[in-house]
C-alpha cells in the first residue's frame, strides 16, 4: 500500500515539476554544505526533487508506523480489557483483570462397535454416541474455579462433574463437589484424551466419580504432587450422586515427576501410588457391589443376587484399593502402566470373606509422524490440511491388560457359569489426530475369558472399534 501511495505521489510531483528542476542535475554539482544545499522544510531554499521524494517517503513511513503502533496499542488494550475469545481451547469470556472467566467447551464421541465371531452370546453391532459432554467452567474472584460437565451419551443424562475449587497456593488447593477421586491413572485421564477407544481392565476396579472434598497441590515445582480426599464411597467403577450408608472412603494419591524441572528424555516420567480405604455395607436391595465389564462394555462378572438376604452377596465391611501407576513420554514414544488391587469384605447369607480382585495393564504408543505424545493426548505439530499437503499426526498403539477375580469368589459369592474368573485383553490400533480438536481412533481388541459360561469358558470377544471425536 505504501508503495502504491508513493508511486501516486511521485507521479503527481513529476507531472507538476518544471522540466529543468534541480533534481535533474547530477549530485556532484550540488554543494556539500548541508545548510547551502537546503533542508527539507526550510522555506528559504527550494527543495530538489530528491528532497521532495525523500520527504514524501518519510511522511508515508511515519503514517505506516503510526498505524503499526495504533494496532499494537489496540491489541494491548484488548488484552487488558478482556473480552471474548474463540480458539482451539473453546470459547471464553473474561474480565479485564482475568479475575472472572467463563469457558464453554465440550466434546462429542461417535463410536462404532462391531463384534466378530460372537456365536455363543451374540452382541449387538452398533453405532453409538459414547460421550456427548458440554462443559461449562470458569473462575470467579481470581482463585475460585468451577466446572460443570454433563454427559448425554447413549441417550442418558448423567451429571459427571460439578465442583468448586479454591486455588490458594500451588501447594494447596481445595476442591468440593462431584469429580474423579484421585485413584486410577487411566481413569484420571479425560475421556477425550484416551489412547484407546475404551479404557483398560484395571479401570473396572477404581472409582469413576464420587462426591467429596479433596485437598491437592504441587510441591517443589511439580516434582511431587499430592491429593487427599474424603468421599461418599462408590463401588468399583462406580459413579453416584448420593450415599447409601454413613461410612466414608478416604482416597489419596502421591505422584512424582522427578525430572520435570531438569528436562531431558525423562522429563515426562511420572510414577506414584494411589488408593482408597473405607467401610462399605449393602443390603439385598442395594448390595453395594460392582459388576465388571469387558472392553466391549458387556458385563462379564457380577455377584450372586436374587433380591433375598440369603442369596444375595452384599458389601459387608472394609474396602481397600491400592493402585501403583507410572507413565513415560519420551520423544515419539509413550508408555503407561498401572496395577490395581481391590480388596473387599463381602457376605452372602452366613458366609463372609475378604475378596481381592486384581488387574493390571501396560500400553505403548508411537507417534509415527507429526506430533508429540503426552499424558494429555497427542499435540499435533501440523494440522490436517490437504491443500498444504499436511496430514496431522498419526500414532500406533498396543496394550495388554488382565483382570483376575479372587478364586475364593466362586462358587459362593458369584456363579461360575455366568461370571468370569479372569479376562485378558490384547488391543492394537491407529490414531489420527487431524488437529487439536478432531481425531479418529481405530482399535481391534481381543479378550480371552476364563470361565463365565455354562460349559466352561466364555467365548473370546473380538471387536473392532472406531471413534470420531470432536473437542472444543
Amino acid at each position: 500500500m505504501r508503495y502504491l501511495t508513493l508511486s501516486l505521489g511521485l507521479a503527481w510531483l513529476l507531472a507538476f515539476l518544471p522540466a529543468a528542476a534541480p533534481a535533474q542535475e547530477p549530485p556532484a554539482q550540488q554543494t556539500q554544505d548541508p545548510q547551502a544545499q537546503g533542508q527539507p522544510g526550510d522555506p528559504q531554499t527550494p527543495q530538489t526533487t530528491d528532497q521532495k521524494i525523500e520527504e514524501l517517503d518519510q511522511k508515508i513511513r511515519v503514517l505506516d508506523r503510526k498505524i503499526e503502533l495504533d494496532k499494537e496499542a489496540a491489541a494491548e488494550k484488548a488484552k487488558a480489557t478482556g473480552g471474548v475469545t474463540a480458539d482451539k481451547n473453546g470459547f471464553s469470556i473474561k474480565s479485564a483483570d482475568g479475575a472472572y472467566r467463563l469457558r464453554v467447551g465440550g466434546y462429542v464421541q461417535f463410536d462404532s462397535r462391531f463384534f466378530l465371531d460372537d456365536k455363543q452370546k451374540p452382541n449387538i453391532d452398533t453405532f453409538t454416541l459414547r460421550r456427548v459432554r458440554p462443559i461449562l467452567e470458569g473462575t470467579v474472584a481470581k482463585i475460585f474455579d468451577f466446572r460443570i460437565m454433563t454427559d448425554f451419551g447413549g441417550g442418558q443424562t448423567v451429571l459427571q462433574d460439578a465442583y468448586l475449587e479454591g486455588r490458594f497456593n500451588p501447594a494447596f488447593r481445595v476442591r468440593a463437589g462431584k469429580f474423579k477421586p484421585p485413584v486410577g491413572l487411566e481413569r484420571l485421564q479425560s475421556g477425550a484424551d484416551l489412547l484407546f477407544v475404551e479404557r483398560s481392565l484395571p479401570t473396572n476396579l477404581v472409582p469413576n466419580r464420587d462426591l467429596g472434598v479433596q485437598i491437592a497441590g504441587d510441591l517443589a515445582g511439580g516434582i511431587a504432587s499430592y491429593q487427599l480426599g474424603v468421599f461418599n464411597g462408590v463401588v468399583d467403577g462406580g459413579i453416584a450422586d448420593a450415599d447409601t450408608n454413613s461410612e466414608k472412603d478416604v482416597a489419596a494419591r502421591l505422584f512424582f515427576q522427578p525430572f520435570i524441572q531438569a528436562g531431558g528424555p525423562l522429563k515426562s516420567l511420572g510414577f506414584g501410588i494411589a488408593g482408597t480405604s473405607g467401610d462399605q455395607s449393602g443390603t439385598a436391595a442395594a448390595p453395594g457391589l460392582p459388576s465388571y465389564k469387558s472392553p466391549g462394555q458387556v458385563t462379564v462378572f457380577s455377584y450372586r443376587s436374587d433380591g433375598t438376604a440369603a442369596n444375595t452377596t452384599i458389601a459387608s465391611g472394609s474396602h481397600v484399593r491400592i493402585v501403583p501407576q507410572a507413565y513415560l513420554y519420551s520423544g515419539p514414544f509413550g508408555l503407561l502402566a498401572e496395577y490395581a488391587s481391590s480388596r473387599q469384605d463381602v457376605t452372602r447369607g452366613t458366609v463372609s470373606r475378604e475378596l481381592d480382585h486384581r488387574s493390571w495393564q501396560a500400553a505403548a504408543s508411537w507417534v509415527i509422524t507429526g506430533g508429540v505424545p503426552t499424558y494429555r493426548a497427542v499435540d499435533p505439530k501440523v494440522v490436517f490440511d490437504p491443500a498444504a499437503h499436511t496430514w496431522g499426526a498419526w500414532e500406533i498403539k498396543v496394550r495388554y491388560s488382565k483382570l483376575d477375580i479372587d478364586p475364593a469368589t466362586f462358587p459362593v459369592f458369584a456363579n461360575p457359569a455366568s461370571a468370569i474368573r479372569s479376562e485378558s485383553a490384547l488391543a492394537a490400533g491407529l490414531n489420527w489426530y487431524l488437529n487439536r480438536n478432531v481425531r479418529l481412533l481405530f482399535d481391534y481388541e481381543r479378550t480371552k475369558f476364563d470361565g463365565g459360561f455354562t460349559t466352561g469358558d466364555r467365548e473370546d470377544e473380538k471387536i473392532f472399534f472406531s471413534r470420531f471425536q470432536i473437542q472444543f
Partner: protein, 335 residues
Amino acid sequence: MRKLFQLPLLLLALACGLSPAPAAAQVKLLNVSYDPTRELYQDCNGAFAKYWKAKAGQDVSVQQSHGGSGKQARSVIDGLEADVVTLALAYDVDAVANSGLIAKNWQTRLPNNSAPYTSTIVFLVRKGNPKQIKDWDDLVRPGIAVISPNPKTSGGARWNYLAAWGWAQKKYGTEAKAKDFVSRLYKNVPILDTGARGSTVTFVQRGIGDVLIAWENEALLAVRELGEKGAFQVVAPSSSILAEPPVAVVDKVANKHKTAAVAKAYLEYLYTPEGQEIAAKHFYRPRLAAVAQKYAQQFPQITLFTIDVFGGWTKAQKTHFDDGGVFDQIYGAGK
C-alpha cells in the same frame, strides 16, 4: 470411619520407599525491566544461574519482562509479580515503593544508590551523518526529524528530555529559553513510541527520522548489531545527563515467593566483576573502576550532569512529566 486415616499413612510409608532422592527445587525469579535491557539480562541471567548453582547448589531460572519503564512500574503496582525490578529511573522504583511493595529505603540497600551501572543519552544518526548533526541545537533545525519515545511511558524518554533541557538551560541561561528549545525539539518528533526499543525499531528498522535520541547502550548496540555494518553511527553531544538505572528487590513479592535471598543475590551479582563485565559488554558504563578502565575506549567522552540539576527525580517528574506538566504544555501545543 475407622479406616479413614489408615490409607494416607500407608501411602506415605510406600512413598518414602518410592520417592526420588530429594532434589533442590528450581527457584524462579521474575525481573521486570525497562525496554533496552533485554540482551543485558539474557546474559546476566545465564551467568547468575551458574554462579548461584556453584555458590548455593540451587537451580535458578530468571524470567524477563520488558517495556517502557513507567509502564512496567505500573504493571508491578497493578499486580505483576516481579521479584526484582530493574527500571530506567529511580522515580519509577519510588512509585512501586509508594505502593507498599518495596521498602522506602530501597535506594540505600545496594551501593551507588542501587544503580549498578550507568549510561547516558547520545544521538544515533545514519551512515555519514547526512544531516550533519553534531550537538543538541542541530535537533531543532527545520526539517530534522527526531525520534524519541514518549516521556509519559518511557524512562529513557524522560532522560532524553532532561538531557536536552539541561544542555539548553546551560547554553541559553534561563528556564524559559530551555522550554522554548525543548518545545522546538519536540515539534520535530513525528512519532512517540511507548518505549526506547520501539523508537529504535522506528529509526533503524522502519527507516524513519534523521536522528534517534537514545540510551548510549542502545545506540552502541544498534551500531554494532543492528542493520548493515556501518549503516549507523553514534554522535556524542557536547553534554548529556548521567543516567542511573536502579535495581531493587520487590520485597512483598519476593517474601511471598520465598525468593528474597536469591533475589538479593541476583542484584548483588550485578556489582561483581563478572556482572560488571557483562554490563560493559552490553555498553552500560560499569561502576567498578577496573572494569570501567578496561572498557573506557568504547564510551565517548561527554560532560555529564546529574538529575540533581533538576532538584531530583520527584521534582523533575512533577514539573515536567506529571499530567499538566511542562511536557504536556509543549507537546500538546506543538501538535
